[in-house]
Amino acid sequence: MSGEAPVKKSSYTIPIGPIHPALKEPVMFTFQMNGEVVESVDFAPGQTHRGIEWMGMRRNPVQIVHLTDRICGICGVTHSICFARAVEQIMEIQVPERADYIRTIIAEMERIQSHLLWAGVAAHELGFDSLFYLAWRVREEAMDVIELITGNRVNYGIIQVGGVRRDIVEEQYPRIQQCLTYYRELMDKLLHVFLHDRTITMRCRDHGILTYEDAMKLCVVGPTARASGVKKDVRIDYPYCAYGDLSIDIVTPNLLMGEVRGDVYDRIVVRVLEIGQSIDIIQQCLDNIPSGPIIWEEKIAKLLLACKKAKGEAIGRHEAPRGEALHYVRMEGEEAPYAWKVKASSYSNLISWPVILRGEQIADIPIIVASIDPCLSCTDRVAVVNKEQQAILSKEELHRLSVEKTRRLQHD
């Protein structure tokens, strides 16, 4: 026996998903493993396709605004802003300034709740439930204010083509102000518990690294890019809504850490710092918000008519909590848009998975996957599926693979 070297498989495959607790949403991963280490990654999105763009091409803009809310429930306002801005450019109308400010405020509220949500989920992936509970407990404050402003906690439905549907009235200011104070006081604690916890540092530092070069080449967006030192933020680079009026700067991890490593930890840093930035933005908006109308045309019937007349193409962008989202809309004088392409933030970020997962251990997969804050419901919106899919390995095969893996584990 000693003479003949046992046949070693150089790698084996483990599939994860589409339903796996580490993923908030279904996606199908295939990992090529070498021992405990990931060699390469492939993934198949497409489990939550609902064909939203196609549906949009059958509906009028007022309906689509609500459909865009439901491209994704987490960046509820993102896609509405993108879509509305695109249509407004085609119609060549000006949005009232007050509406721009309200859009900004609500978008930043959304960023706060989304980052806290992510922080909670990441803590949960790390098995740190108290932090999960803490994040979600303080998130309720933002949810309350969002509900106060818009009337719903999620899928706000506040954007309309030409402006916003709900004003922020005088009586609401103190409540919003209170929320800002609450978070401002909380920031130190958040930074402390997230960034100074030994266990978190151990799990996140130097894992899932995305270098600056890779980040540029792969065109990732949002906190994922900024954590790698790419200074890119639509809000600051490309003035729109009220962002052009504000004094804000791009958040990169070196502001706090003095260096950029592009690892999971840096992504936490960027997100937590951005919560603080959002508080600041909302404060500036509240202080400077002009008075005036909130929508270009209040009468829905007239609005629809104007939309129907519009012709042309345009692009609306917005920096969502996860990075740049972008809608390409083309109208041809019909009720429904002629073409509509949604580019959501995760769409750009998913491509970094293979890079950041390579060489990592199995146990780190969930947190690294989560670190780009993936949500696929936006990315998946287009594909069409009508037959039973067969990409999933049979159960037997899965078992077989697992057995092989066990073998591998034994020998390392």
């Binding site: 999105p45 497409g46 396709h49 064909g51 763009e53 196609w54 450019q89 949005v95 300034e97 721009d100 400010y101 540029m216 080449k217 792969l218 065109c219 990732v220 200074k231 890119k232 600051i236 680079d237 490309y238 003035p239 729109y240 809504c241 009220a242 052009g244 009026d245 700067d249 400077n288 002009p290 009468k299 019937a301 007239k302 629809l304 008519l305 129907k308 345009a314 692009i315 962008r317 740049e324 972008l326 390409y328 002629y338 073409a339 392409k341 580019k343 769409y347 750009s348 998913l350 491509i351 998946d380 287009v382 594909a383 069409v384 599926v385 009508n386 037959k387 899919q389 067969q390 990409a391």
Partner: protein
Amino acid sequence: MIGMTPLTPQEVVDRFRNTFGEGVEGTLIRERAEGMKKRPNYNLWITLRQELLKPAIQTLIDISFPHLAVISGVDIEDQIELVYTFSLYFGVKHGEYLVNLKIRVPKSDPRVPTISDLMPSAVFTEREKQEMLGIEVVGIPDPRRLFLPDDFPPGVYPWRKDEKGIPPSMIKNLWEAKRPKDRPAPPVPEKPEAPVCSVECHDPSEAPNETETEVKKE
């Protein structure tokens, strides 16, 4: 890559015009200003001849390595228009331009070269265009489908507006599910007729109720 001498939008367009001359079929600079200070942002639209796509992207890269957001596609009669959306950034606050390069390919020969050698991140969105619009990306390193399953009927491309689009047989109306059909309408007190519409944006009979959908169904 970042930190080049900033060009104005006009200079960018001029660069293209100078480099490609006749190859540039049209250019448009759209300026839009929002907020109180009305700081403008710029969207550049450059229509090119099909074969100039890659040199054009190279030009962009030479200016400053751009960020590829997405490739959009529209089915326009017998052509497919592809819009390559980039953002060009010089490291200056408020100084990013959106650059849209548009090309058209005929449906009869729907082939475009891959740009993934220049922009590695393009693979994803190119794969999507292949399956959604039925174009062929020549030289794509990973030609598999992205969203569609392998057993999706060949020759059906969801974004096509022609006969290759989604056939009605694939559509399911979810709202119909077990909804009671024979519920009587509740009585209404007699009232004067509804006033005539002053705007005339829509004809009440056009409302998206069952009638409309039923037509589509059969």
